[in-house]
Structure formats: structure tokens, C-alpha cells
């Protein structure tokens, strides 16, 4: 199952401090839904303010992005720029 890594406080406050979670999901959308089911509010937090790094590559607002069973997904704050 894909492993979700939570290094920052923005998401960790929803998981009670848990920093790694395995989720049954084959897309980013399913991962968000599953995380929200287990940690209410985390889905909204990801939707509104977070990006995901999948195996080191950053995706923002990308529900359909596929996840593999060995994917490492890191939740990080959404990135803007200047």
C-alpha cells in the first residue's frame, strides 16, 4: 500500500502526531478520501493548502494522479512562487 509521510505540523495535527500512514488507494483522490475518513479534517486541509510529493515529484491539485503500491507520498505545504 502507498505510504503517506507527514513531516510538518500542518497535517500532523490531524493525525495525533502520527508521521507515517499506509493507505489503500490507487489515486491521489482516493488517498485524500481515505485519509479524511481516518483523520477527519485532513482531507480538507490537503485540498486547500497542501501539495503531495510522490516519489520525490511534486503534484498539486492532481486528483487523478495514480499511486503505486510502493509509492511514497509526502504531504507538504502548497507551493506558490514569485
Amino acid at each position: 500500500m502507498p505510504k503517506v509521510v507527514i513531516t510538518g505540523t500542518a497535517a500532523r495535527r490531524f493525525t495525533g502526531g502520527q508521521t507515517e500512514v499506509e493507505v489503500e488507494a490507487n489515486t491521489v483522490r482516493r488517498m485524500i478520501t481515505e485519509l479524511d475518513r481516518r483523520f477527519p479534517g485532513l482531507g480538507h486541509q490537503i485540498d486547500e493548502g497542501m501539495a503531495v510529493a510522490i516519489n520525490g515529484e511534486i503534484f498539486q491539485d492532481a486528483y487523478q494522479t495514480p499511486l503505486e503500491p510502493d509509492s511514497e507520498v509526502v504531504l507538504i505545504p502548497k507551493i506558490g512562487g514569485g
Binding site: T7, G8, E48, G49, T65, I76, P77, I79, G80, G81
Partner: protein, 762 residues
């Protein structure tokens, strides 16, 4: 499809930019150039106080002045609920944005808008502004970031409670948010260290330095249809914010992008457009507002200043084992500094097993900060890269070698979590080591500094259309204002995909009714993301062109191939036909199915991060404290350069701004919390004569996510310069400057401490 680098004919060349002539001869239309029949002139009344309660606003005298057609204040704007959104360059609360455009209840900084007028001439508007009477109750204020964090500091927002701390606070605070990132166990790593170093660095708020002040013309029709012409980094951003702040349906706003005279992140918010909308609605006339330079400084967002506390622990061989970074960043009057990116970027270049990073987003009585190239990254990196240099000197290891020993590589886990893939940081160090710059011998009072930097780059939503015209020329319509030569790169990618000459493609930046939604120009995303949309649109057109050739030849489209801008029969079985050029196919488009065009909208992902290593030589005038930049080399992983000259230009521009940030630029406040230097005479930016030619070295590691391998290039060049300059100064005279700017008075002061002046000694 991916294009083979060897076969490229247009990408990688250096043609003249399509907008160049207009800009050089003054024909380009910027925000202030637009005029309309019956147009009024708007002007804002601004707070003279850093922090005050608004007791009353009396506009009666202003309204009676002949020529005044409308006066507005916060009462003319809808009360917006607190709602976080990510429309611009970072998380933004719509209520805060509304209050930032027009103060409600309190003013929070010197220059905060409290009312506005529209009149038949600029002079009448100015006179009317003076007639508006605002009664204030002046409140204690706080400017400095650490002062604002103190328990007894004047509180800006009674409903602001620190997020990210446990237990949830019961008292309001100026600390809007605390963020942390953890890898390994810092305490364990710190114990394993054989050499430790702890330092504190600071930087001041700085202006993005765009030359063109904010400007707009807004017309609200009797039917409620609104048209906005303005200088911004995103017409769709302007439309979205205005719709929200004025409670207007998005479909009723058409936002037209003017040419933009610089933005660098500073034009990713709205300031004037909602005010002009309110004035136009009230007066029934088009309204134009153009900021003065002073208003730009006092009333719009600079880049954050802050404090950066760095601890590095290493083995004697130079291997880092532990690092701690604390970032305290100014948000200005409302929450939302780039503290997250500052925390994530500062140590991203290194493979460190144990890391602790803490960041604070702190409000104070300053204008709300705005983005500036790689927001947050230059701040924290000034601290970490200065500290790396101090560590290198302690260890007596060459600073580039120290970076090489600890460099992040593919497979390295970053402190903020991701495992790096396809990164080019080591290659930038290697290129710097091999550059002739390092062989140049230095003289007395001269020194050399190096520093590296990282920036994420982003993709995002982009739309583009490709239209084949009747004569075979091609029009590209994109949704992103061109702030760095992107028209040229769009035209080049389209020409490459179509197989036609660059000068046959004309790129146009469309308004919000002429092209699909496009996220704003920022995050170094346009050549990457919008370039993908343009390329895909051109590729769809090629598919259509093949169909049309097939229709002309009366064969199957599968039997047609497209090469060098012409249709050919795919093989002998397809038949024997003379090749058909794009022009010939375009001429017969009416007979083969109608106009040939395609529009593509995408959400581009996998932007590929930017990595840079810079080398700077300086010479110090010990009498005046003046720092002369002798030579500067900036090496950067750029993916593939679509237009190498404009990539080099982005690098040179970023370095120049970084050098200004390093040496002279700062917002200076007086004892009443008023900005003392709101103009380019007193706010010293580098000019051409201050600098040598900056040598931009392009390391091309193609980004596999982009059809031509492009990565964003516009932001990472501003990340290393502050530390590179500080490290060079330390090398030249043995003085470590830990507080920016390293201006002549400060350097003189430091020199006096090192070597007391003779008179003082006597």
C-alpha cells in the same frame, strides 16, 4: 510527445522576442497607458499611522468638491467572511485581502488605504482626498518581527490565535502560525557532532523593484458587466479576487492583461482594482487609478524580512550530522508570510540525517508581504549558506568541497520529507568547480564566496490555443502575462512542434474571455506549464493538418506524415503526391472542414526543482565600506533552455536583485512606524554601473515531464546571492556580516570594530 534534443531546430536558438520592439520604442501599452471616454481619476486616502482605530470618516467636504463623482470607504465594500483560498501565490484569506484593499475598523500600517475618490481630473482627486476627514485613535504599534512575538506586544488582530501549537492558545497573538519539519532526531545528531556551530542572521523587508507602479482602468456598465485593464501577473487572479471582494459573478468580469513593467511576485495580489470597481459602480463612469512610487512602497507588499537561527553539527571530515533552523518571518499586517517555503528550502541542498526546522509567521504593523522570486527561500538560505561557509572555515575545508560532501542527490530524503529524484545540484557544484572564475587570483581586500540554493518551481493550470491563419501563419493565444520573455518561448515551442519558422508564429496574451483559465504567472511555471499547453495545442493542430492533407489527397490520414512543416505521403503505398506545406493546407481549410485550430487546458505536474551554485568575487573599500562586485558566476540546472538568452537574462536579473538585497536594500521605519524611504532615491537598488556582466552557466538536465525538457528558471537565481556576497566579504576582510543589508555604513561600523579608527584609538 517528447522531442529529441538533437533534432531541435527552433528550441535552443536565440531569436528576437516578439514584444521587444514595442517595448523598446514605447508602443507597448502598460497599465497606465489605457484611457476611456468619460474616464474619471481615482485616488486613495492613506493612513499616516502605523496602527490606529478609525473613529470616523467624514467625506462630506470631498463629495461637495466640484468634479468629484464618487467617494468610497469600507462601508461600500461587502463584509467578507474569513475564508482561506489559494487563488494567488500563497494561501490568502479573502477577508484579509478585502481589509488590505480598504481598512475597516482599524488601520494596520502606514499607507493603509482608508477611503478613495473618483474625480474628473487627477488634481481634483488629490484635492478631494485631502478634504476627507478621518478621526483616529492612535494605538501602540510594532514593526520588528521579534518585538511582535513578545507577550506584551501590541496585538494587531484580536481574533488571531497561533495555529500549530498545542494546546490551542486562549489569548490572541501576533504569531499567526508555527510550522515544524522534522527528520531523524536532532538531539541525537547534535551529540554525534564533532564540530558544532550556532549563528543568528537577520534580513530586512525588501521591495521587488518593479519599475512600473500598479495601475488599472475599470469600467462597470449599466448592465453590471465589468471590464478591468490592469498590470498584474494574472488576469484570472484579478478577476477571481475582484469577484470575491465585490460579490460579482465571475462571468460578469472581463479582465484584460496590460503589458507588465515588472512584477517579480509583487503583482500577484490586487490593491487598486477592487477600489476602482467600487468607484466605477458608484459613479457610473470608467475609473483609472495609478499609484505613485511612494504609494507602491507604503501601500503594497514587499518581501518579508526576518530572523534565521542556524545550528550545524558535523564530523571533522565535513559530513553534516545534524541541523536546526528557526525562521521568524514577517507577514506584514495580515498572516501569510512564505514561512513554509522558507523552512523547506533553507536546508534542501543537503543530505543531513537529523534535522529540526521551526518557522513562525508573524504579523506586525507593516504592509502585508507579497511574493518575491522564490518567496522565503532567499531569507532562510542567507542564514544556512552563511553558516555553511562559517563551518567550512572552521573545518578548513574548501566551501565548494563541503557542499559536495553533503550534497543532496537522487535518493536523498529531504528534511521536509520527499525523496529526491532527477536532481541536478551536484552538477551545478561540479560546473562551478571547473569554471575559469575559480582560477582568477585575488588581491588585497578582495575575497571570494560561494553559496547554493534550491527552489521548488511549480506547474499548475494553463490554457493555450493554436490557430492556423488563412495565409499559413499561426496565432498562439495563452493566458499568462509575459513577465520574462515567455511569448518568445511559447512561439518557439509551437514553431518546433509545427515544424515551421519561429517568425511565422505570433503569440498573444489573451484576456479572461479569450482563452481558458490559466493560473497566474509566477512560481517559474509559465515556460513549463503553459509551454506544455502550447505544445499540446500545436500537436493537435498537426494531427488536424494531416487529416486535411489526407482529404486533399483523398487518402487515409494514417497514410500522412508531418515533417518540417509539411505533409508527406507516409510511404510508397500511400500514393505519389507532392508535399503540402502548412500554408497550402491552410489555404484550402474551408474546403477540407473549416478553420484549423485547437485549444488545450491542462494542470501541469512534475515541474522539476531548480538548483543553483553561485561564485562571487568582491573588493572592499576599507575607507568607505563600499563593496564592489568584481565577478559573479551563477551556475544553474535549467532543464533544457528553450531560449538560452532569456534563461541567462532571468539568471542575471535574479542575481542582480539578490545583490541589491545583500548590499543596500531595506525598508526603514521612523520612530512613529512610518516608512522613511518610499522611493528609489532613498531605497538603493543596483543599477547597471554597479555590476560586472554576470556569467550565467546553464547546466542542462532535461526535465522528463516536459516535451522539450524545460524547467522553471526565474526564481532560484535570487536564492544564493546574499550568502555568496556575505561569504565573499568574510573572505576578503575576515568580517562576518550576519545582518542584511551589508551597506557601507554597516560595513564601516564592522571595520571600525575590527580595527578602531586612529582618532578613536588615540
Amino acid at each position: 510527445m517528447a522531442y529529441d534534443g538533437e533534432s531541435l531546430k527552433v528550441v535552443g536558438t536565440r531569436p528576437i522576442r516578439p514584444d521587444g520592439v514595442d517595448k523598446v520604442i514605447g508602443r507597448a501599452n502598460f497599465g497606465a497607458d489605457m484611457t476611456m471616454p468619460g474616464m474619471l481619476w481615482g485616488k486613495l486616502k492613506r493612513s499616516p499611522h502605523a496602527h490606529a482605530r478609525i473613529k470616523s470618516i467624514n467625506t462630506s467636504k470631498a463629495e461637495k468638491l466640484p468634479g468629484v463623482r464618487a467617494v468610497v470607504s469600507a462601508a461600500d465594500f461587502p463584509e467578507i467572511a474569513s475564508e482561506e483560498a489559494f487563488v494567488g501565490e500563497g494561501p490568502m484569506n479573502f477577508r484579509d485581502l478585502s481589509y488590505n484593499c480598504m481598512a475597516r475598523g482599524k488601520v494596520l500600517y502606514d499607507g493603509h488605504a482608508v477611503a478613495a475618490v473618483a474625480a474628473t481630473s487627477p488634481a481634483i482627486a488629490e484635492e478631494a482626498v485631502e478634504l476627507i476627514e478621518v478621526e483616529y485613535e492612535v494605538l501602540p504599534y510594532v514593526i520588528d518581527v521579534e518585538d511582535a512575538m513578545k507577550p506584551n506586544a501590541p496585538i494587531l488582530h484580536s481574533d488571531l490565535f497561533t495555529q500549530g501549537v498545542d494546546p490551542k492558545p486562549t489569548a490572541p497573538s501576533n504569531v499567526a502560525k508555527r510550522v515544524t519539519f522534522t527528520k531523524g532526531d536532532f538531539a541525537t545528531g547534535w551529540k554525534e557532532a564533532e564540530i558544532t556551530i550556532e549563528r543568528r542572521y537577520t534580513s530586512k523587508a525588501v521591495h521587488q523593484g518593479y519599475i512600473e507602479p500598479h495601475a488599472c482602468v475599470v469600467a462597470v456598465g449599466n448592465d453590471g458587466q465589468c471590464t478591468i485593464w490592469s498590470s498584474s501577473q494574472g488576469q484570472f487572479m484579478v478577476r477571481a479576487y475582484c469577484a470575491k471582494l465585490l460579490n460579482i459573478d465571475i462571468a460578469n468580469i472581463r479582465a484584460m492583461p496590460a503589458e507588465i513593467g515588472g512584477g517579480f511576485g509583487g503583482k500577484t495580489l490586487v490593491y487598486l482594482e477592487p477600489v476602482a470597481l467600487a468607484l466605477s459602480k458608484k459613479s457610473g463612469r470608467p475609473v483609472k487609478i495609478v499609484m505613485s512610487r511612494e504609494e507602491v512602497f507604503r501601500g503594497t507588499g514587499p518581501a518579508a524580512g526576518g530572523v534565521y537561527e542556524v545550528k550545524l553539527g558535523a564530523k571533522k571530515d565535513g559530513r553534516l550530522v545534524a541541523a536546526e533552523l528557526v525562521v521568524k518571518l514577517q507577514a506584514g499586517a495580515f498572516p501569510g508570510s512564505p514561512v513554509g517555503p522558507a523552512c523547506m528550502c533553507g536546508l534542501a541542498m543537503y543530505d543531513i540525517p537529523h534535522v529540526s526546522i521551526v518557522g513562525y509567521d508573524v504579523v506586525s504593523n507593516r504592509p502585508k508581504v507579497a511574493a518575491y522570486r522564490a518567496p522565503g527561500a532567499p531569507n532562510s538560505t542567507f542564514g544556512t549558506e552563511s553558516c555553511m561557509d562559517e563551518l567550512a572555515r572552521r573545518l578548513e575545508i574548501d566551501p565548494l568541497r563541503l557542499r559536495e560532501i553533503n550534497a543532496a542527490k537522487d535518493g536523498t530524503k529531504a528534511a521536509h520529507g520527499p525523496t529526491w529524484a532527477n536532481i541536478g545540484y551536484l552538477q551545478t557544484i561540479e560546473a562551478a568547480k571547473n569554471h575559469p572564475h575559480l582560477k582568477v587570483k585575488l588581491g588585497k581586500n578582495q575575497g571570494r564566496g560561494v553559496a547554493s540554493g534550491f527552489w521548488f518551481n511549480i506547474g499548475g493550470e494553463s490554457s493555450a490555443a493554436c490557430h492556423v491563419n488563412e495565409d499559413g501563419s499561426v496565432t498562439i493565444v495563452e493566458g499568462n502575462p509575459d513577465i520574462g520573455g515567455s511569448r518568445a518561448s511559447m512561439a518557439m515551442m509551437a514553431a518546433e512542434a509545427l515544424g515551421i519558422p519561429y517568425d511565422k508564429v505570433r503569440p498573444v496574451v489573451g484576456d479572461t474571455a479569450s482563452v481558458g483559465f490559466s493560473f497566474l504567472t509566477g512560481g517559474s511555471r509559465v515556460t513549463f506549464a503553459t509551454g506544455m499547453a502550447v505544445t499540446q495545442a500545436a500537436e493537435k493542430v498537426v494531427v488536424e493538418l494531416k487529416k486535411r492533407a489526407a482529404a486533399i489527397w483523398d487518402i487515409s490520414p494514417e497514410a500522412v506524415e508531418w515533417k518540417d512543416g509539411k505533409a508527406y505521403p507516409a510511404g510508397p503505398n500511400a500514393g505519389s503526391f507532392e508535399p503540402l506545406s502548412l500554408q497550402e493546407i491552410a489555404l484550402k481549410a474551408g474546403r477540407t472542414g473549416g478553420p484549423i485550430s485547437a485549444e488545450v487546458s491542462i494542470n501541469a505536474q512534475g515541474a522539476g526543482a531548480g538548483w543553483a551554485t553561485h561564485v562571487c568575487d568582491v573588493e572592499i573599500d576599507r575607507e568607505t565600506g563600499y563593496v564592489k562586485i568584481l565577478r559573479y558566476t551563477a551556475v544553474q540546472d535549467v532543464g533544457r533552455a528553450i531560449h538560452p538568452s532569456y534563461v541567462e537574462g532571468q539568471i542575471q536579473g535574479g542575481v542582480t536583485q539578490g545583490i541589491g538585497w545583500a548590499l543596500n536594500e531595506e525598508y526603514i521605519y521612523d520612530k512613529e512606524g512610518r516608512l522613511e524611504n518610499p522611493g528609489y532615491l532613498d531605497y538603493r537598488m543596483p543599477v547597471a554601473s554597479d555590476l560586472p556582466m554576470i556569467d550565467a552557466v546553464l547546466v542542462e538536465i532535461p526535465n522528463p515531464r516536459h516535451p522539450f525538457g524545460a524547467k522553471g528558471v526565474g526564481e532560484v537565481p535570487i536564492v544564493p546571492p546574499m550568502a555568496a556576497v556575505a561569504n565573499a566579504i568574510a573572505d576578503a576582510i575576515g568580517i562576518r556580516m550576519r545582518n542584511l543589508p551589508m551597506s557601507p555604513p554597516r560595513l564601516r561600523e564592522a571595520l571600525d570594530e575590527q580595527e578602531p579608527p586612529r582618532l578613536a584609538a588615540e
